[in-house]
């Protein structure tokens, strides 16, 4: 199906594209009701493949630089590519905005998603599970480590005030929460976790300059694994807006939480990992 066929159909009916396609589909056009499995980016028409990119080339702004930008766009799979904006930034650099249709197809069947591996519990259920099966308070230590002073993440999860309408972990009667705040050094965090007998350690990392969040997290997990005997390491949980889903193993932690995580999700996860009766043996040992 070509763009012009669809446009003709739209012109004929004077309808909004979506409306037109539901009521007057063109033969061969993908149905609105069954998206995928093969998709392309959407500009204003299904299948148009339109994307926008902006970038800077280390070239003075002239015809050659514009040609170079288009060459790059072509190599990125944009065909045809439309150079909509070019601006000199000083004598040595040019900034470009390019629109174009990408030739690539995306097969949504090949996309892998990390599904939530634990059931979501309400706060009463969390408290009850801890009381019934742990028989003591669940101890959680939280901190921003390294030089990260952005406590917004850890506070959203821990402070009573909470986040997204959910109360933070301090609100849970059966949890003991120690929030160490910002700029906590890793040895201090390990020491505090040991002192209070932490079941779980929550670390938040917002600053990502030069991959500080990755560096800090691997330092932290290594320190815990060195300081505690195998099987007694607290559950290590890290959160922040720029962590990749599924990077837990690479970071040496048990779970990574991304942007938009709520306290209830974290509490449910902690119960799932630390409290819920297990059908398989806990690789971290019995004394959890």
């Amino acid at each position: 199906m070509t763009r012009s066929t669809a446009q003709e159909a739209r012109d004929r009916t004077h309808q909004h594209e979506g409306e037109r396609r539901r009521e007057h589909p063109v033969t061969g056009e993908p149905s609105l009701h069954e998206p995928g499995p093969i998709v392309r980016p959407y500009g204003d028409t299904t299948g148009d493949g339109m994307v926008q990119v902006s970038f800077t080339l280390p070239l003075p702004h002239d015809k050659r630089a514009e040609g170079a930008a288009l060459q790059l766009a072509a190599k990125m799979g944009m065909s045809p590519a439309l150079l909509v904006h070019a601006k000199a930034m000083g004598p040595h650099f040019t900034f470009f905005v390019v629109y174009g249709s990408v030739t690539h197809l995306v097969d949504v069947r090949e996309v892998q998603v990390v599904e939530r591996e634990f059931p979501l519990l309400g706060s009463a259920e969390v408290n009850q599970a801890i009381r019934a099966q742990l028989g003591r308070k669940l101890v959680v230590v939280g901190a921003c480590i390294g030089t990260d002073a952005h406590t917004v993440g850890i506070d959203a999860i821990l402070n009573i005030k909470g986040f997204a309408g959910e109360k933070g972990l301090e609100y849970y009667r059966e949890m003991k929460v120690v929030n160490l705040g910002a700029q906590v050094l890793v040895p201090e965090l390990v020491e505090s976790a040991r002192e209070v007998g932490a079941d779980a350690v929550l670390v938040s990392q917002v600053v990502t300059q030069k991959d500080a969040h990755i560096h800090n997290t691997t330092t932290m997990s290594a320190a815990f694994r060195e300081a505690f005997p195998a099987g007694e390491v607290p559950l290590l949980v890290v959160g922040g807006p720029r962590f990749e889903e599924g990077s837990a193993a690479a970071l040496g932690v048990d779970r990574v939480f991304g942007r938009g995580t709520t306290p209830g999700e974290v509490a449910s996860y902690l119960v799932h990992e630390l409290v819920a009766p297990r059908t398989t043996r806990d690789p971290r040992g019995e004394q959890r």
Partner: protein, 535 residues
């Protein structure tokens, strides 16, 4: 710098006076506490003013060696200078550097001189330190001369841009490029973690982590480069660094010696966000502010940081309280109004109804409360989501508040905040944003008069009255009366009043570097700064 005078908010002058007098009441006991103590960093700064620089082959500065040796030998309660110049007079070493080198290997002995020896040592110390103070004075005159000769920033707000590559030799061309693109002020962000180093690194450095180390040589190199660019552009480009962390006094001294123009220097930032001991901070703070006052340096305070941890609407009054405290501490240390870049920020959640009007109210309140201070207006960070397009709009509104309320220093917001360290194109787009708003709406200060008892006026009065209430609560807190730390402000910091951080005076980094002054304590730097003397 001339500041625009926007429409009045109809603040009750009696409430404003009360706010200032409460700030004084809260601050005074802390100043007394600061005057009763010294710190290792204050003593090291004094030695730096006397000309001691350099480090051993491991990078430990000679000032650290010498202060540590004196502390081990006779203690620091009398100040480092008296035992040091006594040792020089006794021929322990021919000069300060050699003495420090000998002290580092334990082969110099120190004592507390008495009578004529005491007087003579003090005189010699004063003479040496006065030389450094005169260098600071001559750097201030050099700045004034250069501004007069090449010209000043053409308008306010001054456009403030950050560079931070970690490598001073990369920073220099970036800073020069930023200046050519329109920056009036260049800030070189420090390497992550420098605030917690209890020494100042030495030499030109090329390996910083998300920033470049503050060193005397880096200061010198960057200032020299910006002097060239200032001449090229026909306007004086100011240089900013950070007098904060455990070495705040030393960095202030180096800034004075190397003619930096503005320094980040908040009265409580280190306590709250770096977990530095409160007493250490207040002692270091007072000394560094005295140096800044003398050097003609504009300080930038860090109230924007409170709003990164607390809600910008709920905690708006804590910003005002901190500004009032910063003003009190600054003036007590000798800084003048034109040197007070009091901070505040555009951090209200854009989802909050009327968020822009509330921002205007808060910004106008700061403008009206401190009419002669330049004020530093900080861009949104907390609600920059990674949606760079929305971020660009938010930065535009931030710039508009800056234009409408006559801010003195505008830190340019990046749409890629919280995404990447700014790219060349981010900076260029951000400057276009600022230029557009300033040229399109800079004159709005003339037309913009919030209506009597409208939302803006009412909100500003509400924030001020909440600030007065909070200050009142702080100074009337008698729960720590009779304890080791009865100062109500310290109690408030312990309770987490500011930035929701709880910081007791008995904890925090750098506490072991705090020393109670003895009766015979002498510090020629403090004396010269107190007296305004040059010899």
């Amino acid at each position: 710098m001339s500041s625009r005078r926007p429409a009045l908010l109809d603040l009750d002058p009696a409430v404003v006076r009360r706010a200032r007098s409460l700030a004084r009441k809260a601050g005074k006991p802390v100043v007394d506490l600061a005057r009763a103590h010294t710190t290792v960093s204050v003593e090291r700064a004094t030695l730096r003013l006397a000309g001691l620089s350099g480090a051993d082959h491991d990078g430990t500065p000679w000032v650290n060696h010498l202060v540590d040796a004196v502390r081990d030998g006779v203690g620091l309660e009398h100040g480092v200078t008296t035992p040091v110049w006594d040792a020089l007079r006794r021929g322990e070493a021919p000069d300060l550097l050699t003495l420090a080198q000998k002290a580092s290997s334990g082969s110099a002995s120190f004592r507390l001189p008495e009578k004529r020896d005491l007087t003579a040592s003090r005189t010699a110390a004063r003479k040496a330190v006065a030389k450094g103070i005169r260098t600071v004075d001559s750097q201030r005159r050099a700045r004034e001369r250069m501004v007069a000769k090449v010209g000043d920033a053409p308008r306010t707000p001054w456009i403030y841009l950050i560079v931070a590559t970690g490598d001073i030799h990369e920073d220099i061309p970036q800073a020069q490029a930023a200046a050519r693109e329109g920056a009036d002020v260049i800030a070189v962000i420090r390497s992550t973690g420098q605030s917690l180093l209890d020494f100042v690194p030495e030499g030109a450095t090329r390996e910083g982590y998300a920033g470049t180390y503050a060193t005397q040589e880096n200061f010198r190199l960057m200032r020299a480069a910006l002097d060239d660019t200032s001449r090229e552009l026909g306007r004086y480009v100011r240089l900013t660094n950070y007098a904060s962390g455990l070495c705040m006094p030393e960095i202030a001294a180096l800034a004075g010696l190397e003619r930096l123009d503005m320094m980040l220097n908040d009265s409580m930032y280190g306590i709250l966000f770096r977990d530095i001991n409160p007493i250490r901070t207040f002692v270091d703070q007072r000394f560094s502010r005295q140096v800044h006052a003398r050097a003609g340096i504009i300080i930038n305070t860090g109230e924007d940081n409170y709003l990164t941890t607390a809600d910008a609407v709920e905690a708006a009054h804590t910003v005002t309280v901190s500004q009032l405290l910063n003003e009190y501490f600054a003036k007590e240390a000798g800084l003048e109004d034109w040197q007070l870049g009091l901070g505040h920020a555009f951090e209200i959640n854009p989802e909050v109804p009327e968020s822009f009007r509330l921002e205007l109210a808060h910004a106008l309140l700061a403008r009206q409360l401190f009419p002669d201070a330049p004020l530093k207006w900080m861009p949104p960070t907390k609600h920059m989501t990674g949606d760079v397009f929305r971020g660009y709009l938010l930065d535009g509104f931030f710039n508009l508040v800056g234009a409408m309320t006559g801010q003195g220093i505008l830190l340019v917001g990046m749409m890629t905040e919280a995404v990447v360290t700014p790219w060349l194109s981010d900076r260029d787009l951000a400057l276009q944003n600022v230029r557009y708003v300033m040229e399109a709406a800079g004159g709005l200060t003339e037309d913009f008069h919030p209506p009597h008892d409208g939302l803006i006026q009412t909100r500003a009065r509400q924030v001020l009255s909440e600030a007065v209430d909070l200050l009142d609560t702080i100074v009337s807190d008698t729960s720590t009366k009779g304890s080791a730390h009865p100062q109500p402000l310290l109690a408030a910091i312990t309770d987490g009043t500011f930035g929701a951080m709880k910081r007791p005076p008995t904890k925090g980094k750098g506490l072991d570097g705090v020393v109670v002054k003895a009766d015979g304590y002498d510090n020629p730097a403090t004396t010269l700064l107190d007296e305004g003397a040059t010899r």
